[in-house]
Amino acid sequence: MTAPAIRFEQVSRHFGEVKAVDNVDLEIHDGEFFSMLGPSGSGKTTCLRMIAGFDRPTSGHIFLYGQDVSDLPPYERNVNTVFQDYALFPHMTVEDNVAYGLMIKGIAKETRKKRVDEMLELVRLPKFGSRKPSQLSGGQRQRVALARALINHPKVLLLDEPLGALDLKLRQQMQVELKSIQQRVGITFIFVTHDQEEALTMSDRIAVFNEGKIVQVGTPPEIYESPASPFVAGFVGTSNLISGEVAKRLTGSEQMFSVRPEKIRLSFANDRPETDMISVDGIVRDVIYLGLFTRYLVEVEDGADLVVIEQNLKTTSMDVLSAKGQKVRLHWHKDHISHVGA
């Protein structure tokens, strides 16, 4: 069994009083597409920068395939980064940008040229070699940055919110493309993002960060279906968190649980609860029609507000909007609740 691609051993990074990264242990496997997900200031970017070598841990160790790299400068680590702002060299052509790593290593010009062409082919930008970065669109710069990093065959590729500046369509297209490039080159990708949908789409595993700590590590289904804490339940997708008296009445225990909005069925008739279903009555307080689906805000007895999402399979906007203020009954299967800590 090979050593993990990246291993964090009780890594902390403090900036004065602020604990940006607080005692993190983490293992990232070889060849994995791993996402670090969290709100801004949660420590995910600092972790990435410590892997790259731009930042050093205050304490603890970072291992790259078993080698302790905690104190190596960036240029002595076999990892490469795709920067959030792409950081392409404005005074160089696309070709020179991509060839930069090879040029520094002193690789002959002909070999360089050949590999640059291969890389531009991989990111589907052939014939762009002689352009300047300023002549490219955001998506194209993104690809150049990717090519510039991948040409060095890094052991690990770090991506710092690389899709943040792209519009939605392009972002979704790049998500698919990144994943397919990762599978083709077989390199470990570590992807930092604050966009939970992005993380769920691409990752083999996700680490959810909050306040300098990792609060949960798991596959996308694990993270989505069994969030380990109220924070994860709230940050990854939308969740209805229910606790206290209401929880006791519905599940027989006061322990907090979460149920996803799309798991809840909404009916207007006072139909009898089926077996294994949990039912609760409420009043529709707000209706938001979103085309593909409708989001309802339902106030249930005892004052809790639940979000319900229903696909508009048969209903029209007229139907759903008229639901506002009506009494409804909500049902969900008891397997669809997950107890969260605290």
Binding site: A52, F54, Y75
Partner: protein, 277 residues
């Protein structure tokens, strides 16, 4: 816009126009008639000497200022804390707040035979070194203040802020992520400097050199106050339009630096100095 065309370009055009007139030698009056004879007068050995001397001085002052300014600008842009950056910036521009004439005369005193520099050489008993330097033909003279070397020192000092500020600005504009990217791709500090910082600072160097070069070309105070009595372009123009009353020749002479600057800018463009603008 109107202001720019009328006041700025208009006066330049009037200059150009005047340079095509000529001075009637007997009457001492300007004849407003198109001729190239004034330009022909520029090509006498004396006037060519003035052009050559001034352009050479401008060139070596520019080179010296680049060498002095770059490390300073680099320090201010990259290493100084935000607080000390402000102070350094003020320190660089402070001399510009005081009168140019005062500073030139200060240098005249510093460089004089009885001045502080010669006093220092005397103090350490190495006066002979200064004498040796001053005995070199074409840069030496009877004292530092009366030598081209002294002029060179004063020029370098006077125009230095105009070189530091653009270089510093250019260096400040290099985003930190570019330096990190270079390091990430395997470049050590020296390689990053060579391949990223230096090329990106180059437009600043060129901008600064346009100032130092053109200001030296046109200056007449320093050659008048310091140095030997050999003319520079500025002095020649000054005396032609003043005492000699030869406005056409003064105008033609002024076109010299204009042409030299145009050539200079074309070379700078060829070197890619304006690509990043």
């Amino acid at each position: 816009m109107v202001y720019l065309v009328v006041v700025y370009l208009g006066s330049l055009f009037s200059l150009l126009l005047n340079s095509f007139f000529y001075l009637e030698e007997f009457t001492g009056l300007v004849v407003r008639q198109f001729t190239l004879r004034t330009y022909a007068q520029l090509f006498t050995p004396t006037n060519l000497g003035i052009f050559g001397r001034t352009a050479t001085m401008a060139l070596i002052v520019t080179i010296a200022d680049i060498i002095i300014a770059f490390p300073l600008a680099y320090y201010i842009a990259r290493f100084a804390s935000p607080r000390s950056k402000t102070y350094l910036y003020i320190a660089v521009t402070l001399p510009l707040w005081s009168s140019y004439l005062v500073r030139v005369y200060a240098w005249k005193l510093i460089l004089a035979k009885e001045g502080i520099i010669s006093w220092f050489f005397d103090l350490f008993g190495i006066q002979f070194i200064l004498d040796k330097i001053l005995s070199i033909p074409s840069i030496g003279g009877s004292s530092l203040s009366l030598s081209p070397l002294g002029m060179f020192i004063a020029f370098c000092y006077i125009w230095l802020p105009y070189m530091i500020v653009p270089i510093q600005t250019a260096l400040e504009r290099v985003p930190k992520s570019l330096l990190e990217a270079s390091s990430d791709l395997g470049a050590n500090a020296r390689q990053t400097f060579q391949h990223v910082i230096l090329p990106m600072a180059f437009p600043g160097v060129v901008a600064g050199s346009i100032f130092t070069f053109s200001l030296t070309l046109g200056d007449f105070i320093i050659p008048q106050s310091l140095g030997n009595s050999r003319y520079f372009i500025g002095q020649a123009v000054y005396s032609y339009q003043g005492t000699a009353g030869n406005i056409p020749l003064a105008a033609a002479m002024t076109m010299g630096p204009v042409v030299i600057m145009v050539v200079y800018l074309l070379i700078a463009r060829k070197l890619g100095a304006f690509d990043a603008l």
